[in-house]
Amino acid sequence: MSVWRLVIKEIVRRKTNFVSGLVAVTLAAAVLAGSMTILRLHDLRTQRILARKEQETRQRMAVLEDDYRKIMKNLGFNLLILPGNQKLSDFYADDAVSAYIPDTYATRLAEAKIVTIRHLLPSLQEKVLWPERKRTIILIGTRGEVPSMFRDAREPILVAVKKGHAVVGHELAESLGLRAGDRITLFGRTFTVGQCNEERGSKDDISIWIDLSEAQGILGKPGRINAILALKCHCAGNELANVRRDVASVLPGVQVIEQGSKVLTRAEARDRASKEAAEALAGEVGNRRQLRDELERFSSILAPLALLASALWVGLVFYTNVRERRGEIGILRALGARTRTILRLFLTKALLMGCAGGLAGYVLGTSIGLARQGEIGISFLDPRLFLLTFCTAVVLSLAASWAPAYYAAQQEPAEVLREE
């Protein structure tokens, strides 16, 4: 007859007492395991949400980049490379260029390994009176984008105007009733209207674009241009000095001015979009963190309360058990049981209660916690959480039963036997 068998027989005999304590330990362990599982789920969900948000932000930024590339095409030029002898005061006052440079400059610039300059568009433009229509226009000769052998072959952002064709600004087209396909005469030469532009609210609305060589012929400036327009430069405003230095090393005697507002607008817009994305992400992080703090605060109150209530209940269960077994303890003492034997009698029972409660509590708490996991598939068995729950349940049960067990061990058998 071992103490172990005595404990088992007593548990079987007084099931209600044992089950009552077991329920208390199970509930405490379940609250612990459940709240930890919910926190774990919350952390995993947060990680996934943030990863998705970051991915979305990256995708949105890529789309935005492409949008800006297209927008920049419509906005026009980022940089203007002008003849060195062009008076900028005249240029700003008249919005027209009166000096010239060789059209080979564009080719030289394109072949130079200047990484900051991209999409070169040489042009010859002059404000002239359109003799056939008696209208002042800006005549622009362009050859489209100068291809560069040092950069990737991307689609040119501005397509050249074909020879014999003209692109007409909005105001001219409207006032003269021109449409695509119409034929116009310009300085005695006939052109087909290839396209009428949308309204831009600038001098473009009174401009006519034709092939560069034809413009050079009309304006009597063969082999000359008066500006090279550089689109989508890799430069922000503060890097303009570097661009000027690079251009000067290839084309001495030209000057570079910035279409400042456009470049900065683009950079600012990108920065702002990027900042807003980061702020949105930070906001999400903040919200999730706040929610976690609230969950954690709730758990940090609920779990200790559950443990305390459970400990009190288990203590009461064992105290009742000790009172009920006074005669049994007395006779065991009379038969020669030592203090440690009586302690073992109750603490073995508490150990069993803790082990069973820890197991049941883990299963119950984790099941309840995982019931709300949704799309997040996490393992039912988390070894660390299981160990924490199991050990807490065992320690709780042993600690709560210690005082009643000690009280039992200290009882005087003579008093008990006399009472009985």
């Binding site: 006779i331 003492r333 030592r338």
Partner: protein
């Protein structure tokens, strides 16, 4: 040999002390059956509990084979008791959720040893309980309960058996059966100290000691 040397026990009651056990000298030799007879409240149970080391006397000594029981620590006394002293009580004090055999083997749990199955069955056979081995105390008659308690007390062959009114709940036939077992035990060299208020029961012992009425001995302190 058990020796009670000028053993006295009193209890406080207000400003007075009540004498529970008047000074007593008692010797029980090996192979001797001694009865202590006295009226109700004369201190018979107190005498027995002191003799078994379960209660400390106010004064005097209790020696078993020369060992002073009340000079031992609590745990030393428990170990000594488990090897040398057997108890049987009027109320049996069987453990209700254990079977007859398990109750007989209960001292093993107290002693932390579990190898007495054969001895337990042998005792059950001796006490006519072999057909009741799996029954719980609630399923036994009073005589069977007391025989189970007696078998339990004798599991480790103690030097002395202390019996407290063990025939008090039994009819005449069962009382004689139980007393017969005690006499058998004494024949094998064991000692028995039986306390009883029943003169007829006491008269079956080898020797009878009388305890006076304690009310005559109460003295204010």
């Amino acid at each position: 040999m058990l020796v009670l040397d000028r053993v006295v026990k009193t209890y406080p009651k207000g400003s007075r002390r009540i004498t529970a056990l008047a000074p007593i000298d008692l010797t029980v030799r090996a192979g001797e059956f001694v009865a202590v007879e006295g009226p109700s409240g004369s201190g018979k149970t107190t005498c027995l509990l002191i003799a078994g080391g379960l209660l400390d006397p106010d004064s005097g000594k209790v020696l078993l084979d020369g060992h002073d029981l009340h000079a031992m620590t609590r745990n030393q006394l428990a170990a000594f008791r488990s090897q040398n002293i057997g108890f049987v009580f009027q109320q049996y004090h069987l453990i209700p959720y254990l079977s007859v055999l398990e109750n007989i083997l209960a001292p093993e749990a107290a002693r932390g040893r579990a190898n007495g199955q054969a001895r337990g069955r042998e005792l059950a056979g001796q006490f006519g309980l072999d057909h009741r081995l799996d029954h719980t105390p609630a399923e036994l008659s009073c005589g069977e309960k007391q025989r189970t308690a007696l078998a339990r007390a004798l599991l480790f062959r103690p030097k002395i058996l202390l019996a407290d009114e063990i025939t008090g709940n039994l009819d005449h036939v069962n009382a004689q059966i139980v007393l017969g077992y005690l006499r058998e035990y004494v024949k094998t060299g064991g000692s028995v100290l039986l306390v009883t208020h029943d003169r007829e029961i006491a008269s079956q012992a080898d020797r009878v000691e009388y305890l006076p009425d304690p009310r005559e001995l109460e003295t204010p302190r």
